[in-house]
């Protein structure tokens, strides 16, 4: 019990340390390829966990023989300018339960947005007041970000078609701090954004198309908001943090008892995300697949709350990924999945320069145990250009996931 508590607390802590330059746009950077199995293929809908299953696509889950509990964590290293940042975070926790190979259920918890970023002035600015020279600099930071709770359902329509849906509950908060440092005194302006929203993802997969007598696995997904993501912004009055604890208390100026109450503003439909994904998987040779996925993503949210560190937000993005995967053959001497992929991504940024991203994904999965347990290692290398402030950034992300299969909720006689 103690170890479980420790693990949970450490995972929670890790959310506060994920940083890359994209976190400064809008309400933060979006998490993608959340589970380790999909990192190597750089796509979401196409099989990457098993030869016919993607953990991100409920319309494929009915192919599972066992229930799986998957946990993925990632280490991300972002290199920008002459600095680099290495961070750790939980990327996915998911429970998938198939039922009679006909339908499936899933529940997941994943980070949705990350706002962990800190920027500061490189030089001190001088100001003269009453013949006294005052030196100051500014340091702006944001942290946290909303998470996503997901309830999923998959259903096999017939031998060729299957559908799935996910209900996504967005919740959580992020914090913004603007710090004006005058003569080593911190003048803090803090605010907190509370996110709430509901989205739905619709999936459809089919094997109806054949090429050379081999089916092409096609899958499409459409995500739309049921209720746009609303943001409640609590803005606290600026204060001089006399005791340098980053917390407004009675020892600060003005002391917390003499400060104004937080200003609460509600912003409706700040984020309205629509995305469409179409993907195809073709088995070139036995257990060797070629995969292609296209993503179109749009944010039509109002963005009335200007709490972005950069003053711009990502309004759309497009992604193309091409991947090759060799699946393991369970219960043989070939227990490994090997994955390699290339992807190209373009971010359309409101008010600022667009960002381009080119990346490479590599992955290895290892099957073990009678229930098809799997450890996945994923590596992503990406190069971003056109980033505000920093220009170019290089990302190295290493993802590790463990999926434990068992007979939870599955009747033994159906094995």
């Amino acid at each position: 019990m103690l170890s479980r508590k420790l693990l949970i607390s450490l995972l929670f802590l890790s959310f506060t340390f994920s940083q890359n330059s994209m976190s400064g746009y809008g309400f933060g950077s979006y998490a993608d390829n959340s589970d380790a199995a999909s990192v190597g293929v750089s796509n979401e809908l196409l099989p990457s966990f098993k030869s016919d299953v993607s953990l991100s696509n409920p319309s494929t889950w009915h192919n599972l023989l066992f229930s799986y509990l998957n946990t993925s964590v990632d280490v991300q290293n972002a290199v920008f300018q002459s600095s680099n940042s290495t961070n750790f975070s939980l990327s996915s926790a998911k429970l998938v339960i198939p039922w009679k190979q006909k339908m499936s259920f899933g529940v997941a918890f994943e980070p949705y947005l990350s706002r962990e970023v800190t920027i500061n002035d490189t030089t001190l600015t001088s100001f003269t007041f009453n013949d006294e020279e005052i030196l100051y600099s500014r340091l702006n930071s944001s942290s946290g970000g909303p998470s996503k709770g997901q309830l999923s359902f998959g259903y096999k329509l017939n031998d060729l078609d299957s559908i799935g849906t996910s209900l996504n509950i967005i919740f959580g908060s992020s914090r913004n701090t603007r710090n004006l440092i005058i003569d080593n005194e911190n003048h803090l302006l803090q605010s907190r954004d509370y996110f709430s929203g509901t989205m739905i993802d619709l999936f459809y997969s089919t094997n109806r198309v054949n090429v050379k007598d081999k089916p092409i696995f096609l899958s499409i997904a459409y995500s739309l908001p049921i209720r746009g993501i609303n943001v409640e912004n609590d803005s606290y009055q600026a204060f001089l943090d006399l005791n340098d604890n980053n917390y407004h208390d009675v020892n600060d100026f003005p002391n917390v008892g003499q400060a104004l109450f937080p200003l609460t503003q509600n912003f409706k439909d700040e984020l309205k995300i629509n995305s469409f994904i179409i993907a195809a998987d073709y088995e070139l040779k036995t257990r060797r697949h070629l995969q292609v996925e296209l993503l179109n993503w749009n944010d039509t949210g109002k963005h009335n709350l200007d709490s972005s560190l950069y003053g711009g937000f990502i309004k759309n993005k497009n992604k193309l990924s091409v991947s090759f995967i060799k699946f393991a053959q369970p219960f043989t001497r070939d227990p490994f999945n090997f994955k390699a992929s290339l992807f190209f991504q373009n971010y359309g940024v409101k008010n600022l320069e667009n960002v381009n991203e080119v990346g490479l994904g590599l992955g290895v999965g290892y099957n073990f145990g009678i229930t098809g347990n799997q450890i996945d290692f994923g590596y992503k290398f990406a190069n971003r250009s056109g980033l505000h402030v920093v220009g170019d950034e290089t990302i190295h992300m290493f993802n590790i996931g463990i999926s434990i299969g068992d007979l939870w909720f599955v009747k033994r006689r159906e094995i």
Binding site: S3, F17, V73, I119, D121, F129, N140, L240, Q258, V389
Partner: protein, 424 residues
């Protein structure tokens, strides 16, 4: 059932990665935004000021003052003694005049922590007023309400010559000043007649006075408020019957006292400055134009905002320290002309409730010492409080700190307040 936690090494590995990899570098930024608007300044002009008189205040009530210092003149001090002695059974002053009592001698004594530089003669008088209490709150030296002319209504009982040689505090830090009334002397008879006879002279009050006004320094004795207050000891014999005579002494203690002096005079020139003196109760209230504060955003923070007052004139010596107190007011000033609780204009109502009573706001009270002929008092807390609605009035009261000598008086020039405010 599969035990999800049966792979502890994996989780230890995960925890290790998490702890070891959580490092964060800052993205360097050349210009965040709006660099010109981060720090701003403004000038808050003084719009009105008021000189007024409040009740005099002293740094300590534990001493009675003597001597003429600076522009102040000490008149006398009054000490009221208890009617009954502090011994069991209690004996009243009047009891000592009974036929069965023979007063042998008496001693009125005071204690001091001061040493003397000059020689002077201290006189001890008995107040022979028929008023039973000379410490009435309604006693007013300015309006002469309930005025008692103590000097005319008193009888000299004894004098003692004090000099630098005979006033030397010992190792306890104290020395005694004793007025002896020996047996058979006229002084003792006077004491019995004019002081013990509380039926005729109910005030039971002694007056101490610099007889010839030659004391040009401040000399103090311990008052009733201290643990070494004035006392009177009486030695007597009580004839119980022909065979029994009790030879004993009793002690009377002081129960209240006060110093009466003439403070520095309020002069016409005082009205041209911020004039402060606690002895005369001279204070000032200044109003500022704080209109700019209303236009500031809620996140502006005041910094480096000082009330700067230059010393125009004073009676301070080089050794003197003078602290100026600035405080906010709970109520706004209605009349900016001079006012005093002691002096009623013809137009003023006699009702005390109509008197201006400036109540200070304890949320902002600050003091600073005059240094290099200038005092700089930070008032950003007041300005921030005014901005946050903690203070409703754009006025500040200035007065002499209680630690200052009541005889010290300063005149100050006030400049506009130069303020700096920032927004993160």
């Amino acid at each position: 059932m599969f035990n999800y936690f049966k792979y502890p090494k994996i989780y230890i590995l995960i925890a290790f990665f998490m702890i070891s990899s959580c490092s964060e570098e800052t993205i360097l930024y050349n210009e965040i935004e709006n660099p010109e608007g981060t720090i701003k300044t403004a000038s808050l002009p003084q719009t009105q000021n008021k000189l007024y008189q409040s009740f005099p205040s002293f740094s300590s009530n534990s001493k009675l003052h003597f001597g003429n210092e600076k522009d102040s003149e000490n008149l006398f001090s009054l000490v009221q003694m208890t009617l009954f002695s502090g011994n069991i059974p209690p004996v009243s002053l009047v009891d000592l005049l009974a036929d069965s009592i023979q007063v042998d001698s008496a001693m009125v004594f005071f204690q001091t922590q001061d040493s003397l530089n000059t020689t002077f003669s201290l006189g001890l008088y008995s107040i022979t007023s028929d008023e039973d209490s000379v410490f009435s709150d309604s006693l007013n030296y300015y309006t002469l309400n309930d005025f008692i002319d103590f000097e005319a209504s008193s009888t000299l009982l004894q004098t003692v010559d004090l000099s630098p040689e005979n006033v030397v505090p010992d190792s306890t830090g104290l020395d005694s000043i004793k007025f002896m009334f020996d047996s058979g002397s006229d002084n003792l008879e006077n004491l019995k007649q004019y002081f013990f006879d509380a039926d005729t002279y109910p005030a039971r009050t002694l007056m101490l006075k610099d007889e010839d006004g030659s004391l040009d320094e401040l000399f103090t004795i311990q008052s009733n408020e201290s643990t070494n207050g004035p006392k009177m000891r009486v030695w007597f014999k009580a004839f119980v019957n022909e065979e029994t005579t009790i030879d004993t002494f009793i002690t009377f203690f002081s129960q209240s006292d006060m110093s009466v002096f003439i403070p520095p005079v309020i002069e016409d020139n005082d009205f041209n400055f911020i004039s402060l003196n606690s002895g005369s109760g001279l204070r000032s209230i200044v109003e500022f134009d704080l209109g700019i504060i209303d236009s500031l955003s809620r996140n502006e923070l005041f910094k480096n905002s000082n009330l700067v007052l230059n010393l125009e004139s004073s009676n301070l010596t080089e050794e003197d320290e003078f602290y100026v107190v600035v405080t906010a007011l709970q109520d706004s000033v209605e009349s900016w002309s001079f006012s005093s609780p002691f002096i009623h204009n013809e137009s003023d109502s006699e009702d005390e409730e109509d008197l201006e009573n400036f109540v200070t706001d304890s949320n902002f009270i600050i003091s600073r010492k005059i240094e290099d002929n200038q005092v700089r008092i930070p008032i950003q807390a007041f300005l921030q409080g005014y901005k946050n609605g903690l203070f409703q009035h754009n006025e500040l009261m200035l007065y002499s700190a209680p630690v200052n000598s009541p005889f010290d008086k300063v005149r100050l020039n006030l400049n506009d307040i130069e303020v700096m405010y920032v927004e993160p």
